[in-house]
Amino acid sequence: MNLIEVKGVSKQFGGLAALTDVSFVLNKGEILGLIGPNGAGKTTIFNVINGFYPPTKGDVFFKGQKVSNLKPHVLCKLGLARTFQVVKPLQRMSTLDNVIASAFVRAKNKAQAEEIAVDILKFTNIYEDRNLISKGLPLGKRKRLEIARALATQPEIILLDESFAGLNPTEINEQIEIVKKIRVEKGITILVIEHHMKVIMTISDRIVVLTYGQKIAEGTPSEIGHNPLVIEAYLGEEHSA
């Protein structure tokens, strides 16, 4: 069953075509990787799916329902959460309050929101930092907080925008474990943008490749790693999954 279907989506900013006729589906339970060189339109496609931009052409479907013109907060209530590439913590709130604020989407009262938040903080392993003001967290933990916040809205799908960028190898391994745990324990479907080839090759079930706003390939990590088009446009050398 496909949860999200992106159908012929184009997005233009004035004369700039950020996306041209991009189509792909996100199946329930999978981890779909989205890769491509800088400026390929990866974050733009996130913003379209997430509702920040309406597509210029084409449509996005969520469980068969057309959602192209809905606002992000409506999509969040439907079960779609995201993280941001440039982390956007609610800076002057504590880590716990950050997560409580997003848990309110489904929680009936503050006690319940707090309960969800504590659960998620333990799940993502930043419970020890719950009372720190989120501005003071190191980048690795802020990226983790982004994921925690998205999880606290109890989504069905989570869009991860470069949640691994700028992390050290230990943090990357930890983050990979968490992403895997999200799928296994919570049954959440994941769409992930990532530049780190080792990460994307390990965690993805399938990969979609964008260049200059166009989809040039789609397939399993090993197919993508040996696809001459992808190698030329992005990878530069063969990658084995």
């Binding site: 907060h73 969040c76 209530k77 941001f84 609610l90 604020a101 989407v105």
Partner: protein
């Protein structure tokens, strides 16, 4: 202990009228309490939700005129202005919100600034309805003594404080602060930012309007330049909160105490005349540079030099 502090302060304020203070001092105290209400109201929108408004005179003036017009044109007590305000100001806030809340940051501030001025000019020119620059005068005052006015505004302030405390500890409060910290993040976390900004604006507007309606009853006379001024209201409101501490429970109250007393002191200085406003400007610059979180927000920072000295001498 900390839980009972507001109650203790309220009780302390409640016995003030028994101290047999002069009418002038009572007047200043009424103004202090009134300004804390306006400050607390502004703080909901500007402090917690992060939508800095330079047009709160619009709300204050509308409140005052609601009370005044009920008295002047319908012949009923201007006290009815306070309940009427809730309806009028909610409607006004919805209109202002619809126009201004789609703007962000400085653009929102500029739009509200313009709206405040529009309200003043309109009130000046709708002579048939507002009496224009002649103003509205209440000919028979409810009380001659200031005691009861003091209790009325104290009650309004207490209720305002309780409302804010309740709001800020609920889902609304979290949403307001989330919007202040990052609107895009808030939106993607399932917060309908437009809706919650409008709620914040309505709350802020209604409470400011109630202070305005009280002002009509208390002063007995209003005209557009008294209740819709850009400097004396909109900007002083921002200063009250900035000096006291934005997004703190006590900031607007501390700010009101300081600003009202300071205004009285500076105004009575000899030889400077209208230049007293310069002094406010200088104070504001210092506050922004050295105490960006206001006196309440940066209280620890204020104490630091004293503590350091103690440590050195011992």
């Amino acid at each position: 202990m900390k839980k009972y502090l507001p109650l203790a302060i309220l009780a302390l304020l409640a016995i003030i009228p028994f101290l047999d203070l002069s009418s002038y001092v009572m007047h200043i105290l009424v103004l202090v309490v009134m300004w804390s209400v306006i400050g607390m109201a502004w703080n909901i929108l500007g402090g917690y939700t992060g939508q800095v408004s330079f047009g709160h005179a619009a709300f204050f003036g509308f409140g005052a005129y609601t009370a005044g017009i009920l008295y002047q044109n319908l012949g009923i007590s201007a006290w009815w202005g306070i309940p009427a305000c809730v309806v009028v100001l909610t409607a006004l806030s919805l209109v202002i919100g619809y126009i201004c809340l789609r703007l962000r940051g400085a653009y929102f501030a500029l739009a509200t600034l313009a709206l405040g001025e529009i309200c003043r000019v309109t009130a000046e020119n709708l002579v048939g309805f507002t009496q224009g620059n002649m103003g509205i005068m209440i000919r028979e005052r409810t009380w001659v003594d200031k005691t009861w006015y003091f209790y009325v505004i104290l009650l309004i302030a207490a209720i305002t404080y309780i409302i804010i405390k309740m709001v800020m500890e609920s889902k609304l409060g979290y949403y307001f602060v989330a919007i202040r910290e990052d609107q895009d993040a808030a939106e993607s976390l399932g917060i309908d930012t437009t809706l919650y900004k409008t709620i914040s604006l309505c709350l802020s507007g209604v409470l400011t309007g109630i202070a305005g309606a009280f002002y009509m009853n208390y002063m007995g006379y209003i005209d557009p330049s008294i209740v819709f001024p850009l400097y004396d209201l909109s900007i002083v409101t921002v200063m009250v909160v900035m000096v006291g501490g934005a997004a703190t429970y006590w900031g607007p109250i501390v700010g009101a105490v300081i600003m009202v007393f300071l205004a009285e002191e500076i105004r009575s200085l000899p030889y400077i005349g209208a230049a007293h406003q310069t002094i406010f400007g200088i104070i504001l610059i210092f506050i922004i540079m050295f105490l960006p979180n206001g006196i309440v927000g940066d209280f620890r920072k204020l104490l630091r030099p004293f503590k350091a000295k103690k440590g050195a001498s011992s």
